[in-house]
């Protein structure tokens, strides 16, 4: 079985894995990082989104062996020493989640989106989150939250 080394949320892991093991199953079943969810089997819903080497990816569509040598951040590694990321705060204050199942993926996709475009318009947020489905919120408050977080991050960066 191939051996992989992956840094997940700041911790280095080395494991032997079956080639067919998906990154999301590696995170959930092997590392116990159940914060990342699975919502579909066709790469549509985005619930499993994590940030890999700086880019948002759907961890259901990456084999664990493909992640060998990579740096992965999941929702569980987003807060900084217990301090919530601006996106986590904004999702809370803007009521951008209801059942919360899509939320880890939605937030990690938003992390990727804001890395690409730190000051997106409503339209750009909607387009940027096209790979993530939410069945509860109708997206409006998600759009609001991402823009609120962007503003806070911008303020933080220029202060």
């Amino acid at each position: 079985m191939p051996r992989i080394s992956v840094n997940v949320d700041g911790t280095a892991f080395t494991d032997e894995v079956e080639p067919r093991l998906l990154l999301v199953h590696y995170l959930r079943d092997r590392l116990g990082k159940t914060g990342t969810n699975i919502g579909c089997d066709t790469s549509n819903c985005g619930a499993c989104t994590v940030v890999m080497d700086g880019l948002s990816v759907k961890s259901c569509t990456v084999l664990a062996v493909q992640a060998d040598g990579s740096d992965v951040t999941t929702i569980e590694g987003l807060a900084d020493d217990g301090r919530w990321h601006p996106l986590q705060k904004a999702f809370h204050t803007e009521h951008a989640l209801q059942c919360g199942y899509c939320t880890p993926g939605m937030i990690m996709a938003s992390v990727g989106l804001l890395a690409d475009n730190p000051d997106p318009s409503d339209e750009e947020v909607r387009e940027g989150l096209e790979g993530n489905l939410c069945r509860c919120t109708g997206y409006q408050n998600i759009v609001k939250a991402v823009r609120t977080a962007a503003a806070e991050m911008h303020e933080g960066a220029t202060r």
């Binding site: 079956e18 067919r20 959930r28 079943d29 116990g32 990082k33 159940t34 914060g35 990342t36 969810n37 699975i38 919502g39 579909c40 089997d41 066709t42 549509n44 819903c45 619930a47 999941t74 929702i75 569980e76 987003l78 807060a79 919530w84 986590q88 999702f91 809370h92 204050t93 009521h95 989640l97 209801q98 059942c99 919360g100 199942y101 899509c102 939320t103 880890p104 937030i107 409503d122 947020v125 909607r126 387009e127 989150l129 096209e130 790979g131 993530n132 489905l133 939410c134 069945r135 509860c136 919120t137 109708g138 997206y139 409006q140 408050n141 998600i142 759009v143």
Partner: protein, 803 residues
Amino acid sequence: MTDVAERSEANVGRVLHRKEDAKLVTGQSTWTDDIQLPGMLHIGVLRSPMAHARLARVDVAPALEQPGVVAAYSGADLADEWVMGLPCAWPVTEDMVAPDHWPVATDEVRFAGDTVAVVVARDRFSAADALEHVDVDYEPLEPVVDMEEALRDEVLVHSEHGTNKCFVWPLETGDVDAAFSGADVVVKRRYIQQRLIPNAIEPRAVVVDPTTASGEYTLYSATQVPHFVRIQMALVLGIPEHRLRVVAPDVGGGFGSKLNVYAEEAIALAVARRLGRPVKWTETRSENYQATIHGRDQIQDIEIAASSDGVLRGLRIDLKADMGAYLQLLTPGIPLLGAFMYCGIYKMDAYSFTCTGVFTDKTPTDAYRGAGRPEATFAIERIMDDLAAELGVDPMELRRRNWIQHSEFPYDTVAGLTYDTGNYEAATDRAMELFGYDELRAEQARRRESGDRVQLGIGISTYTEMCGLAPSRVLGSLRYGAGGWEAATVRLLPTGKVEVVTGISPHGQGHETGFSQIAADALGVDFDDVDILHGDTRVAPTGLDTYGSRSLAVGGVAVHKAAERLIDKMRRFAAHELEAAEDDIEFDRGTFRVRGDPDSSTTIQDLSLSVFTAHDLPEGVDPSTAAEYVFDPENFSFPHGTHLCAVEVDTDTGAVHVRNYTCVDDCGTIVNPQLVEGQIHGGITQGMAQALWEEAIYDELGNLTTGTIVDYYVPGAPDVPHFTTDTTQTPATTNPLGVKGVGEAGTIASTPAVVNAVLDAVRHLGVDDIRMPCSPERVWRAVHDAGQQTGQDLSDDTAGGRL
């Protein structure tokens, strides 16, 4: 209502950010699939690829030889596990046909996705692999997929019953024939409610932790209804109810799809009982599309009679409802929830409704957000537009002529319900102002006149719904298998903190926040000092769970009542401690005071500790700081509102672009405006999805051709417009909080608003019907067939042409 007003200064009525969120935004929630138990085995379910076949042979032996496989079972192997089949708790008529529904099929499969065999393996990978090694000989039987074809009874889903007709359920009030024969105008239409797939983003999952030595079982399930599941599973498996604990951990959405009792829950319990090991089953999304209930799927033949001045006389509905292959928990009752809603907010003399339930070889249907009421609302709101077009009057004007005036409440409707309150005028006036109704009508006229390639349509939906399910006596009269009450216990802890136990089972609605607001206000304690416990039959043994927009209107009221009961209880302790007569003790915002002696007081939280120590209690009173209340509502509640939608229809392509969606909803007293807004946004989106995008399609062989999210169009962020929302508050008079419920309102309201808008855009071109979802091809074909536009007519005007 003065006490309500006073409390609203405190927590109720304010935006308080959700208590639920912390774990959800940090990945610390516990979904059922997250649960790992020592020695846990994984279940894979083999599903029929055929819609109808005899199972000539099911051989699990080859699967047993696969690596990691611990056990494998055919339906016959598990047959002695079941005391009874999967239940239908709503036998809507005495002679309803209720076929056997075993958790694993034994002789025949009746829809693509029906369970055929079960494998149990050490991990989910081995289970998935082993499923490919179960040998099954399917002898194909002819399937029946179409409801009207099924009603001919030439091809039978359940041959032993000799018919595909499940039931016929009639309701008639007033002199319908007279209303129609005396009418100046009669409009008759057929509307098709396409089949929908609920798509809660968390697929279902089940974990069972058995202690076989003592016969105790804990069932974790991604369910909306742990209490229902407990009772029904106890009956199906013959597990004494007190030995079965059901837990709904964090649950990722339901929308009715998790308001059920499923085969996999029974299978997991049976396997755990056989093997004495913890087991898990987790659904894949594609499996969810076949194995979790679908919604809608009705044919509505509707006729409305009116006088020439637009006054409604009568309404006739002949409804056919697709049950699918089996009856799930509430399958036959769902279309009947619409029976009382077809008259909407309108006055008329006579009404007749007949519903025929029909079996077909498809996934069973059951409750999907709104459950019967969206279908009814769609039909009445659409035919009001069709009637307005027939009469040549503005569709809002027609509605105003017929709706129940604010001064006429309470009002007994033609369908037999009593609407307690409503103010359709206020909601409509506000919505039209926010929407810019007159300006949009003017723009529409301009576009029509210039023959613009892009036509504008305005759709109206002045809906009401019945929610807060439900008064138990009403449910009884409808032959529903349970009551509609809800339980709450409010408990003061020794340190003054508060635990509220509720029988409702939230899965995204924000009840922990809203109920905390109610309890905090009632008891006069801090919002943060209250915790809401739910979703575990050992923690909250009494309850009837979450569905039908009932949680606040029934469960929230129970919390309020339990808190009041606790205050009365604590008043005796206060009187004892303050050495005053009980009648002289006043309670205000958390403090007991002796009337006329402001210095003599104690807080309810301090009092809790002295009751806990029980050193000095009044004679004959037990030291309890908890109170329970079971609230059975006297009536449904009737939220209402006015939804307005403007769409642009590209007549060259048939593409529909929603340009403006504005709504004003009245869900009574608002506990937390942010939660209400969230429910409305999400609800509108699901209703709009029925109007424009979603449809479960079966081919003539009964294959679900929209078998993955790739083919079934769940809308994403770029597909959905920005919504303009507002509220009016006309408190319900049937409960002390004045609340009505809001979980389904958006979905019920939005589908007709959007479809009416699409039709309004092209009605002048000769189009009077487009089936849902109003896909570009359907819209284009309707326009094209109406002869006003042709495929060769390529306007070069691209202004405003959004795709």
